[in-house]
């Protein structure tokens, strides 16, 4: 069973109200320095006009890719992908070359000037080991964020991906992210802009 675990997130953009609660929860829990956000909500406007104008949020954090480009380019093996799919950074090994930041197509990584290392979301590894949910999931008041095992057909995350036709970002790059997005109503909120032609 252990080898069949792949932790991931499914984010229902229809339920996200852009409150930035996940960003702030993450910032507080991980004690992040100024200007560093491991999880931020990008405002996407639908470019519509009244009465069809609209806006939706796109929370962006580490995608914990199956084919993580950051892991492949790391010269010191500091960036690693764990058995359970979580991509982590070993700060002892990191020398701060920032090649992973160049290689990440999602801009999910940030450089910590004080420590001289690169940092990012680790899906709240310490909380997971205590059997708790990542803090962004717990602090989402709209219930938009669902954490679960993407390999387990009985998990809510798995079912959401398949029933809501969830998509991932930049699929053309072949990174196979573990963060999926359920689009806001197609045609209603300009959600079709999420699926870009490569």
């Amino acid at each position: 069973m252990a080898s069949k675990t792949r932790w991931g997130l499914v984010i229902d953009l229809e339920r996200c109200i852009l409150c930035h609660g996940c960003s702030v929860g993450c910032k507080v829990h991980n004690v992040l320095p100024r200007q560093m956000w491991w999880n931020e909500v990008i405002t996407v406007d639908s470019s519509g006009s009244f009465p069809h104008a609209g806006v939706y949020g796109l929370p962006r954090s580490c995608m914990h890719c199956r084919n993580a480009p950051c892991v492949a380019v790391c010269p010191t093996n500091a960036s690693q992908r764990r058995e359970d799919g979580i991509v982590i950074i070993d700060e002892e090994k990191c020398v701060g070359c920032k090649y992973c930041m160049v290689a990440c197509p999602y801009g999910a990584r940030s450089f910590n000037q004080d420590k001289g290392v690169v940092q990012k979301c680790n899906l709240c590894l310490s909380r997971l080991s205590e059997g708790r949910l990542p803090v962004c999931v717990e602090s989402c008041i709209g219930g938009a964020r669902v954490f679960g095992n993407l390999e387990d057909p009985a998990s809510e995350a798995y079912m959401l991906i398949h029933t809501r036709h969830a998509v991932c970002l930049h699929p053309q790059l072949g990174t196979e992210p573990a963060v999926f997005y359920c689009l806001p109503g197609i045609g209603k909120m300009g959600g079709n802009r999420l699926v870009r032609t490569a």
Binding site: P69, V73, V102, G116
Partner: protein, 290 residues
């Protein structure tokens, strides 16, 4: 706020790309001229330039690290990381160039100098093309992700390398600077064709690469590109080659070539953008509108 993720590598890496390319180019040109035409007088300057410039470039690489004192750790993953492979190439280059310098300086047996010239040419080309491979393998930057980039950087390394070698020869009162100036001019013409082909192809590639081309041609990087790469790096050397024969022309052309080579790295480094996420940059939203 989102901008903080875009620029991760900055001016220090530009300096590295330029200096290492120029040093490797100088040694490649000098050692090739020895192998092909039997030139002796450019051997020492080429080896010294190679060692000094590639070391200086490598120091910029180390200085860019968050933990510079742990730089030796980057040698540990040559199986998959281009930085590890590059660190090994740079180390080998410096070792072979140092051996070449000692041998040429001591006037060692011609057979040895010949074999070391071959090794130097191979490692110099590896060092020069590696600067382009480092950027070229990154899938997440569509403007770089192209096999033409290492070729372009290698040609630029050869033009700046012959320029630097010509300048040294000129200061030493040598007789080879005219021929080096001609080699430099040839590399510059080849490089100019490649730069424009590169931009033309990228402009018809993905929307993200197209966004980078606009940045270069008419956006934030237009001044370093048109002023630095085209004006300084192409027109000034061409002008001095055609209309200013003699030492002044060669010196002016060589200095301008070095400047153009620097701006080429600058332009390409900062033009490498990530593919946009929805909502990330409004100025580019016209690209996805139907």
């Amino acid at each position: 706020m989102y901008g903080q993720h875009e620029s991760t590598w900055g001016i220090k890496i530009v300096n590295y790309l330029f200096l290492a390319g120029m040093g490797a180019g100088a040694l490649a040109v000098g050692a090739s001229l020895h192998l092909i035409a039997g030139w002796e007088q450019v051997l020492l300057p080429a080896a010294v330039l190679g060692i000094v410039l590639v070391s200086a470039g490598s120091l910029f690489l180390v200085a860019d690290l968050g933990r510079p004192l742990n730089f030796w750790k980057v040698l540990s993953n040559p199986a998959s990381s281009m930085i590890s492979i590059g660190a090994w190439i740079l180390t080998l280059f410096l070792v072979v160039a140092a051996g070449f310098l000692l041998m040429a300086n001591a006037g060692g047996p011609p057979g040895w100098i010949r074999s070391l010239s071959w090794a130097s040419v191979v490692l110099a080309l590896a060092t020069a093309s590696y600067t382009g491979v480092l950027l070229g393998v990154v899938k997440a930057r569509p403007f770089w992700n192209n096999p033409l980039l290492p070729v372009l950087f290698t040609v630029s390394a050869l033009s700046t390398g012959s320029g630097a070698l010509g300048l040294v020869d000129l200061f030493q009162g040598g007789a080879e600077f005219q021929l080096l100036g001609q080699a430099e001019m040839g590399f510059i013409l080849l490089e100019s064709v490649m730069v424009f082909l590169y931009l033309a192809i990228m402009n018809h590639s993905t929307v993200d690469a197209m966004r980078s081309v606009r940045l270069v041609v008419s956006g934030r990087l237009a001044l370093p590109f048109w002023g630095g790469v085209v004006g300084l790096g192409l027109f000034v050397p061409l002008f001095s080659y055609l209309f200013l024969p003699g030492e002044t022309g060669v010196a002016m052309g060589a200095v301008a070539t070095l400047g153009g080579g620097y701006f080429l790295r600058h332009t390409f480094m900062f033009a490498g953008l990530r593919p946009l996420l929805p909502g990330e940059a409004l100025e580019a939203s016209f690209l996805v509108k139907r």
